[in-house]
């Protein structure tokens, strides 16, 4: 059993701050949406805007960090092993088979994670940020230029929000599918993860 450093300090800070902000955005956003009552509408509106700004700033830092460190490549989808990763979740995991793709510091994400996270980063986050800030600044049709009202922006924003909720739920569950139930969680907290021992040398 070896303990390998997987997540840097910034990555962990980024992850947990992002988690808090997104949870806050989801709760306040869906209160605004009329789904439930949480903090009260007005408080939720104020919290949502503040959290939106915080999320924007954090995202800018994250992009900066990714570009500087080159870690952005972690999120680029790969073709190999997509099928075997799917098969692992569908059957292998029930048969105590090993993870098909070895997790290393150089490749932290499995092929499915790469696709999903890439989608979040390239699609859902930008859509939420762009529609969110449009929502914030252009809520009326005449100033400074004409959007056909708020509806398209709001509906897109809501769609993105639903996708994020689904992601968060799945994510909560899937972090329990590491080497042990909590090994993924521990890694994101301490930065170190106990990885599966190499049974044979990786082929790729």
């Amino acid at each position: 059993m070896e303990k390998v450093k997987i997540y840097s300090r910034f990555e962990r800070f980024w992850h947990w701050t992002q988690m808090m902000l997104i949870l806050l955005l989801i709760i306040t956003g869906f209160e605004i949406h009329g789904t439930f009552e949480a903090f009260g509408f007005e408080t939720s509106v104020r919290l949502h805007s503040a959290a939106g700004w915080a999320f924007l700033i954090l995202t800018i830092f994250a992009i900066f960090w990714m570009l500087v460190t080159g870690q952005s490549r972690q999120f680029v989808p790969v073709r190999n092993n997509i099928k075997s990763q799917i098969m692992y979740y569908i059957s292998g995991i029930f048969k105590k088979e090993p993870h098909p793709v070895k997790k290393t510091a150089d490749s932290k994400l499995n092929p499915l994670q790469r696709i999903i996270y890439f989608g979040l980063i390239i699609l859902v986050f930008p859509v939420q940020l762009i529609t969110g800030f449009s929502y914030l600044f252009f809520h009326y049709p005449d100033k400074p230029f004409a959007f056909e009202g708020l509806e398209a922006i709001a509906v897109l924003h809501t769609l993105g929000a639903f996708l994020l909720v689904a992601f968060v739920l799945a994510h909560f569950y899937l972090i329990t599918t590491g080497h042990t139930i909590t090994s993924n969680l521990q890694a994101m907290i301490t930065g170190y993860e106990e990885l599966e021992e190499e049974t044979e040398t990786a082929t790729n």
Partner: protein, 531 residues
């Protein structure tokens, strides 16, 4: 060991404390709320007159008539007569442009409504609220400045009144009775001043034949009310007079009633005193763009006495066994039936209805024919896409009134006369005669065939601003079935959503949960099997 310790501290810091710090900072930013502006204006009540009218010899004479008083006023206040005679208070009409219809001259003189249908022809009663002396019929001379009634607006003694049924004249030696005595003209004339609340209120509170009948937000309770009723006019508040907002220059009084004026000019706006960003708070101040101040700050109107919301003329005219009219009251003691007027619905503490309004208004003109039911006595222009329109609170007075079934026009009725037998409906209860005489007086054709038709008139609400604690909260509008449920030409956060996206979204969440539970269950089973 030391290495292990510092790693734990670092983990605590980057994975918990720093993210928490960001979260707390976010909460702190979100908690920031601006402090509203405090308004400091000089009230007219603080105005000190530069002269003492009681010292003027010309006001110390034994005036025979109110006309002589007017002449005395004008002998010093030269040119004021021309100012007065060019106002709508004098002419009861003004030239205004109705968008899409051009310039028309509209006012109380020629417009119809669904209260008493119209003033013209019922002069003895209705023209009591004209600022002239005795507009009893068409012979009234609008060019004679001695016909101006200076005192009704400038009396400070509360002893000068126009007599009922006299078309705007105070009691004379011939007409005086126990209710109306001849005014003490020297006393009144020597004590004139700027109009007080009750100078304005004596007419503007009682439109439609009783207190608060018409406006709903303008009534005698404002003479001495608490902040709960009206923060501006409250005795326990700034105790403002009408003219503090309805500022006046050369007898041209700011503000005009939406049900009788079309153009968006000479209106009063809250930001005259309060600025366009009064809350000093972005979220709230942003609303100024699309929401009238009144909408949130007048959550209910008719806060003291009830106002009329519905008036059905078609049931009027029933008499008792002696052929006399009678009345019935509702549980609150308001009339709900009068033989002379029909059935009413009154209510107090009324929630307004809400409409887009850009300040311009269309009217049913006396030359119009009916094109829709209910007939719109006036209609407020505006929609979401109109950059000048805002959401306004509105009193809608609905009714059923008499119309000419052949000419397809609303009928001007002759309602009032001093005596029986002159054909007035209120004395003789004869629809046909009252309709014929009323239309005749107004030079409008009448076919002899009549029925009753539903109609609506829109009165934007402006007065009875509530204390800030009672301001509408967000979810009064930003919720599924809020106050704006009927105003559907735009997307309102908290009220609106896209059905497809919501079904798909909740469906996705549901499927995800099912998947998680199933997978988890599979893992548990596998765990025990593989043991």
């Amino acid at each position: 060991m030391k290495n292990q310790f510092s790693k734990s501290v670092m983990a605590l810091l980057v994975s918990l404390l720093l993210p928490l710090a960001v979260l707390l900072l976010t909460l702190k930013v979100a908690a920031h709320k601006g402090t509203p502006d405090v308004v400091d204006v000089k009230l007219k009540a603080e105005h000190i007159s530069s002269v003492d009218h009681s010292q003027f010899e010309i006001l110390q004479q034994d005036f025979e008539t109110p006309h002589d008083v007017t002449a005395a006023c004008l002998s010093c206040h030269t040119g004021r007569d021309e100012e007065i005679m060019s106002t709508a208070h004098w002419k009861w009409e003004r030239e205004e442009e109705i968008p899409g219809r051009g310039v028309v001259s509209v006012g109380k003189k020629n417009l119809l409504n669904n209260f008493c249908t119209g003033a013209n022809g019922n002069n003895g009663s209705c023209m009591r609220c004209h600022i002239g002396l005795g507009w009893k019929d068409k012979s009234f001379d609008f060019a004679d400045n001695r016909n101006i009634d200076c005192l009704v607006c400038h009396d400070q003694t509360d002893t000068y009144f126009k007599q009922k049924g006299q078309g705007g004249m105070p009691a004379t030696a011939e007409t005086a009775n126990s209710a109306y005595q001849v005014p003490d003209y020297p006393y009144v004339a020597q004590n004139v001043g700027l109009p007080k609340k009750n100078n304005c209120g004596i007419c503007h509170f009682y439109g439609g034949g009783g207190n608060n009948v018409k406006h709903g937000d303008l009534e005698e309770a404002l003479l001495s009310c608490t902040k709960e009723v009206d923060v501006h006019m409250a005795m326990d508040g700034p105790d403002m007079a009408c003219i503090d907002c309805h500022t006046t220059e050369r007898h041209n009084i700011m503000g005009k009633l939406y049900s009788v004026s079309s153009a968006n000019t000479n209106r009063i706006h809250c930001d005259q005193c309060h600025t366009t960003t009064p809350h000093n708070d972005k979220v709230l101040d942003n609303h100024f763009e699309k929401v009238a101040c009144q909408t949130c700050h007048i959550p209910i109107y008719a806060k003291a006495n009830a106002t009329k919301l519905y008036w059905d003329w078609s049931s009027a005219g029933l008499t008792d066994e002696h052929g006399n009219g009678y009345s019935e009251d509702d549980a609150d003691g308001n009339h709900n039936y009068l033989s002379i007027k029909g059935n009413f619905v009154w209510d107090d503490h009324v929630k307004p209805e809400y409409y887009w309004f850009n300040g311009t208004v269309d009217h049913y003109l006396s030359t119009d024919t009916i094109s829709e039911v209910p007939v719109k006595i006036n209609s407020l222009f505006g929609e979401y896409r109109d950059s000048t329109a805002k959401i306004w609170p509105v009193k809608v007075h609905r009714g059923k009134q008499i119309y000419d079934t052949e000419n397809n026009t609303l009928i001007s009725l002759k309602l009032w006369a001093a005596e029986k037998g002159e054909g007035a409906f209120w004395k003789d209860f004869d629809w046909d005669t009252a309709a014929r005489l009323g239309m005749e007086y107004n030079d409008r054709p009448y076919s002899g065939n009549y029925d009753f038709i539903a109609s609506e008139v829109y009165w934007p609400i402006n007065h009875m601003v509530s204390p800030k604690e009672e301001t509408l909260s967000c979810t009064e509008c930003h919720s599924r079935d809020g106050r704006l449920a009927q105003l559907n030409d735009f997307y309102l956060p908290g009220r609106d959503y896209n059905k497809t996206v919501d079904y798909a979204g909740f469906g996705l969440i549901f499927m995800t949960l099912i998947g998680i539970v199933a997978h988890f269950f599979g893992r548990i089973v596998a765990y025990f099997k593989n043991r």
